[in-house]
Symmetry: C2
C-alpha cells in the first residue's frame, strides 16, 4: 500500500484523509485547483480546491438525493436547469426521468468536465450524448440572468461551498433570477453544506431564498465523504409546500419513470423522511410564516 | 493553533483526523488503549484503541438514538440493562425516562468510567448518583449469563466494533442469553457500525440475532464523528415488529416523559423514519420471514 495520504482541507482542525494509490490529474484551471486521484478506499476521487466533490464509491448518495427529490417533488418536470455538476452525475440522473424533455447544464469550468470525462467516465455514463442534454461551459449567473421568465420547472445547483468560484451562487441576485425563470410550480434545490460544521451556510442561504420563494425548507442526506453527519439540500418552491409530501404519491411518480427499485439510497420513504430534520438542523431554517 | 494531529486508525486507507489542542489522558488499561484529548473542533474526545468513541460536540446524536428509540419502542420499559457505555451518556438518557425503575450498567473497563468522570463530566451529568442506577464494573457476557429469565425490558449494547474487547458482544452465546433475560416484549439494541465501510458487521450480527429473535431489523443515525455515512443500530424484538411504528404513538410516549422538545437529534418523526433504510444498507439485513 502507498504511504501517500491526502488530507481534505475544508476545515481548519478536523477532516478526512485518503490513502492515495495514484494521482491521475492535477490541473490549475482558470477557476480552481483540480485533483483526480485513485484512492485505496473509495475508487477515484475528484477534489476542487482541496475539497472532496465526489468519489466513485459513494457518489450515488448525493446524486440520487440532489436529483430524484426535486424531480419527484415537481408533478411533471420537463425543463431542468443544472448549475455546476461538471462531473455529469446529476445530468445522468435527471435524464433518467422520462418526463424531462430538456436538461440544460451550465458548468463554469470546462476543465472539470474534461477531466471527469477522462477519469470518471462511469459517473455521467452516456448522458453527455443524450439529445435532450444541452451542456454549456459558461457562467451560471449570467445564464440565469438571461434566461426567459418561467422557462424551467426545476433548477438544481450543485455548487462548491460559498467560497471561491461557487460564492456567487449563494447571492440574492442569483436566487431572484432563479425564481423568475421558474414556472409557477417551479422549485430550486441547492447544496447547503453539513450543518454540524457549517451551519451558517444553511442559515444564510435559507434566509436569502425566503426573500423570493414562499416555501423554503431543506432535506437531509448522509453522504459518506461529506463528513460531519447529515448534509442539507436546500429546497425552495414557488408552488406547494415540499414538506407535506406523502409516500404513496412519490411512489406512484417513481413507478412511472422506472426508477423505483433502481436506486441505492433514494426510496419514496427516504424521500419523504428526509424532510424531517433533527432539531439541531431545523433551528437554522427561517420560521414558517 | 497546535500542529499536532491525531489520525483515527479504524480503517486502513481512509479516516478522520483531529487537531489536538491537548492530550488529557493516555492510559493502557488491562483491556485497551484509552486516550482523552481536547480537540480544536469537537471539544473533548474519547478514543479506545485508536477509534473515536465519543466527542463532546456530537455525542447527543448517538446517545439519543441509542437510547430513546428502544425506550420508546417498548411500551413501558422498567428494567434496562446497558452493556458498555462507560462514559455514562446512555445511562443519563435512560434515566430521563420516568418509567425506568432500574438501570443496570455493566462496563468491563473501570478505567473508562474513571477517565470519563474526570475528563468528560458533562456526558453522564449526575446519572452516576441516581438511586435507580446500578453501575457494575464487570464482564457483560458473564452478567447476561447469570441474570434471571425475563428480568429486563430493554438491553442496550454500546460496544466498540467487533474487534478486541468488544468481540464477545457479537456472539451467538451473548445474544441467546440476551433473548432469555428479556421479558416477552423485550428488545435489544446494539451498534452495528457504518455499513458503507463495515457492511459485514451489520450483516453478521443481524444473522446471529435472527437465530434468537423473531423480529430483527436496524435503524440509522448520521453521527458526525462515526464517519462514512449512516451508522446502523441493530434492533431485535421478542414482541412486535419495530418497523411498523407510527409517529403519533411515539409522540404520545415522549410527551409523558417530558423528553419531547428536549432533544437535539431524536424526534418522533426521526424515530419512525430511521427504520426506512437506503437499499445499500437494507440489502445486508436478513430477508423477512
Amino acid at each position: 500500500m502507498s504511504d501517500t495520504w491526502l488530507n481534505e482541507g475544508l476545515y481548519d482542525s478536523w477532516g478526512q484523509r485518503f490513502r492515495v494509490r495514484k494521482e491521475l490529474a492535477h490541473v490549475k484551471s482558470p477557476f480552481q485547483d483540480i485533483i483526480v486521484f485513485e484512492s485505496d478506499s473509495h475508487g477515484r476521487v475528484l477534489m476542487l480546491d482541496g475539497v472532496v466533490q465526489i468519489t466513485e464509491a459513494d457518489e450515488f448518495v448525493y446524486q440520487e438525493m440532489l436529483t430524484h427529490v426535486p424531480l419527484f417533488t415537481h408533478a411533471a418536470p420537463k425543463n431542468v436547469l443544472i448549475i455546476g455538476a461538471g462531473d455529469g452525475g446529476v445530468l445522468r440522473r435527471v435524464l433518467e426521468h422520462k418526463s424531462v424533455e430538456r436538461a440544460v447544464m451550465v458548468e463554469i469550468d470546462g476543465d472539470v468536465i474534461e477531466l471527469s470525462k477522462k477519469h470518471l467516465p462511469g459517473i455521467a455514463g452516456d448522458a453527455w450524448n443524450d439529445p435532450r442534454a444541452d451542456v454549456i461551459v459558461g457562467d451560471g449567473i449570467e445564464y440565469v440572468a438571461n434566461a426567459p421568465d418561467g422557462s424551467f420547472d426545476v433548477i438544481i445547483v450543485d455548487s462548491t461551498d460559498p467560497i471561491g468560484v461557487g460564492e456567487v451562487l449563494f447571492t440574492d441576485s442569483f436566487y431572484q433570477h432563479c425564481a423568475r425563470i421558474l414556472g409557477p410550480d417551479g422549485l430550486i434545490v441547492n447544496q447547503c453544506g453539513v450543518p454540524f460544521m457549517q451551519a451558517d451556510e444553511l442559515r444564510e442561504t435559507s434566509l436569502r431564498r425566503a426573500k423570493f420563494f414562499p416555501h423554503v425548507s431543506a432535506y437531509v442526506a448522509a453522504v459518506p465523504t461529506y463528513v460531519g453527519g447529515f448534509m442539507t439540500l436546500g429546497i425552495a418552491c414557488k408552488g406547494g409546500d415540499p414538506t407535506v409530501q406523502v409516500v404513496a404519491a412519490v411512489r406512484a411518480r417513481a413507478e412511472q419513470t422506472g426508477i423505483l427499485g433502481a436506486t441505492q439510497y433514494w426510496t419514496p420513504e427516504i424521500h419523504v423522511g428526509s424532510f424531517c430534520l433533527p432539531p439541531y438542523i431545523a433551528k437554522h431554517l427561517p420560521t414558517k410564516k
